[in-house]
């Protein structure tokens, strides 16, 4: 076991809206080791993106607020840092790529401007050095004709190319952690394959830890070393990737795995999870998953299960799994 690069403990991020409080992230724990990839899986609204924004210190104010918890990054609690200190970490030690490559780049600046901006800011390079480095980075992410691309604007590039640019930009300061929020969801399958291969290759070369957020279990299996499954703002299962796919324990994880048609196993019907994701303002009593869980008992309706170790390195948050019913 390596050392933890980042450790999130009891993170709570709430949003205060007119209709009530949304507990977008409600007590989340996980850790990522240097150079490893952690996959965070969950459906829309489970709080996975807000978790990443909390780590970056970019929870949209004034509605959103981090209400509790600690985020240790190299032994420093990010939540206790000043905005000034946090800014030195953003884009430098921790950087991020987003789901929508088409809208994540500023349309009125050239690709070169946007990459060199980070380098000039964090690495204190001058314009010429930064431009050279930017071109190196573009070459690294597999963009030929880098010297031409730096002078182009985002609208002149395809979606796949833009995501490569985003990656080049995010990696240009050699961050220790790269947060990738659904990096391939908006891309076509063949382009997705390109980007995933690129990310895997770069991870090995640069020794960057990756926090990969996705709803696609296939991508997780492909990329991650360790997996965290989230549901309604909570972690429901936490295991190594092999363990999770071989021995999924939480009914939600099971449901997720079974509801995706499998290419290798022919099934007549998909096993689905009935119902819908609960309204974040009126979360059900007890275990948040119980209204959709076919094993739910009275206890599940009343008390909230804790995330506890099931076997070594495999944590589950379910009464049934821990035989506490």
């Amino acid at each position: 076991m390596g050392k933890n690069l980042i450790e999130v403990k009891g993170l709570k991020t709430y949003f205060y809206t007119k209709k009530g409080v949304i507990k977008a992230v409600d007590g989340v724990d996980f850790a990522i080791q240097s150079g490893k990839t952690l996959g965070i899986v969950g459906e829309s609204g489970c709080g996975k993106s807000i978790t990443s924004m909390s780590i970056m210190g970019l929870v949209p104010a004034p509605h959103g607020k981090i209400e509790g918890g600690e985020i240790f990054f190299e032994d420093r609690d990010l939540l206790k840092l000043s905005e000034e200190e946090m800014r030195k970490i953003r884009g430098n030690d921790i950087s991020m790529i987003f789901q929508e490559p088409m809208t994540s780049l500023n349309p009125v600046f050239t690709i070169g401007d946007q990459i060199t901006e980070v380098l000039i800011l964090h690495q204190k390079l001058d314009k010429a050095q930064a431009t050279k480095k930017a071109m190196d980075m573009l070459t690294l992410v597999g963009i030929a004709r880098a010297e031409k691309i730096v002078k182009e604007y985002p609208h002149q590039l395809s979606g796949g190319m833009r995501q490569r640019v985003m990656i080049a930009m995010a990696l240009s300061c050699m961050p220790k952690l790269l947060i990738a929020d659904e990096p391939t969801t908006a891309l076509d399958v063949t382009i997705q394959a390109q980007i995933l291969e690129l990310m895997n290759g770069l991870k090995e070369r640069l020794d960057t830890a990756i926090m990969l957020i996705t709803h696609d279990l296939g991508v997780i299996a492909e990329m991650a070393d360790h997996v965290v499954v989230m549901y309604a703002g909570k972690v429901v299962e936490d295991a190594s990737v092999e363990e999770l796919f071989e021995n999924p324990k939480h009914p939600y994880t099971l449901g997720l795995l079974n509801s995706k048609p499998n290419m290798s196993v022919e099934k007549d019907r998909l096993e689905n999870i009935p119902g819908v994701v609960p309204n974040p303002i009126q979360l059900p009593e007890g275990c948040y998953f119980h209204p959709r869980c076919k094993y739910a008992t009275d206890k599940c309706r009343q008390a909230q299960p804790e995330l506890k170790e099931y076997t070594s390195g495999h944590k589950v948050s379910c009464f049934m799994v821990h035989k506490e019913v």
Partner: protein
């Protein structure tokens, strides 16, 4: 083999590119460029391809939602494009469509009852009144919704429910053929499974035939009997599901299949990564449109358009080099 419900012969749909002061025609986007296939009664044909390959346009042209440039579509032997206004009204009862976007596909100013019942009144099958309400209720219940939903508006429903309403609307006229235009792509995985199961159940109960358009190969595999693969407006391969997925013959299909991330960390197979981006449909490559990205491309591929030929047991492939694989 039963009788074909739908025969598509050499279907073409070109969109003119206009520009300049006088809106002169500068060329064509060949969105659908000469595709042919048939769908048997009670069966599902899956149409897969990446964005911009023309699969959506194909679906809409078949239903005559836009006028075709050339070609023929026969519904149970009747030429759809040559049908008179009156004949078309009858055909509309037989052929329906379910859309991708659960938000824009329902008119926000109409109640669910109006959305589903509208066509029944228009086709003079029912008069407004309790009988109509009963029929609408029946359809709603068939799709897993309830009677009290009738007076509600679309904005009150979740994505999955909206998609059910979309299906209910399509079923109202009792059609026998339905085009599903990415009907589950906008949904979360667990909701996707619900809608796919619903579509399969309805197919069995009502003997429907589907043209299922999707970019998700695993979903298509699950629901289809036969699968066609499109690239830049053309079909490159068309075969029974098992043949296509087990022994893909076109290099594009092979790459596409190998590009899908498999939700099994142990199966990290070596994948074929296609280089480059999908070319623009406004300016497609000469010869075989795939040659710019094909790992096996030869001189002939740049010069000649490959024939879409039957390789036995109705397995069609458009590739010069197919015999070498």
């Amino acid at each position: 083999m039963s009788t074909p419900v739908l025969e598509v012969k050499n279907l073409k749909k070109y969109f003119p590119i206009q520009s300049g002061f006088l809106k002169t025609r500068q060329g064509d986007v060949k969105a659908v460029d000469d595709i042919s296939f048939t769908i048997q009664e009670g069966q599902t044909l899956g149409l897969v391809g990446e964005s911009g390959c023309g699969k959506t346009t194909a679906g809409r042209t078949i239903l005559r939602l836009t006028d075709a440039t050339d070609g023929q579509v026969l519904y149970k032997g009747k030429d759809v494009f040559k049908a008179s206004k009156k004949e078309m009204m009858e055909l509309r009862q037989q052929m329906q469509i379910v859309f991708q976007d659960p938000y824009s596909s329902l008119n926000p100013r109409m109640t669910i009852g109006e959305i589903i019942g509208e066509a029944l009144v228009e086709h003079k099958l029912y008069k407004k009144g309790s009988e109509l309400t009963d029929r609408v209720t029946e359809i709603l219940e068939l799709c897993g919704m309830a009677r009290y939903h009738i007076n509600r508006y679309p904005h009150e429903f979740s994505g999955g429910q909206r998609q059910r309403i979309g299906i209910a609307r399509a079923l109202a006229l009792n059609p026998s053929f339905i085009v599903g235009d990415e009907p589950v792509s906008a949904l979360d995985v667990s909701i996707q499974a619900q809608v796919i199961n619903l579509m399969k159940d309805l197919q069995q109960k009502l003997g429907l035939s589907y043209l299922f358009i999707s970019h998700d190969l695993s979903v298509v595999k699950h629901i289809s009997d036969r699968v066609g693969v499109m690239y830049l407006g053309s079909l490159v391969e068309l075969a029974d599901k098992k043949d296509l997925y087990d022994t893909p013959k076109h290099p594009y299909t092979q790459a596409l299949l190998s590009a899908i991330p498999v939700p099994d960390p142990k199966k990290k197979t070596k994948r074929i990564i296609l280089q480059g981006d999908i070319p623009s449909a406004a300016n497609p490559p000469s010869g075989c449109k795939f040659h710019t990205r094909c790992p096996y491309a030869k001189e002939i591929c740049k010069a000649e358009v490959p024939v879409f030929k039957n390789m036995g047991s109705n397995h069609f492939v458009a590739c010069h080099l197919v015999d070498q694989f």
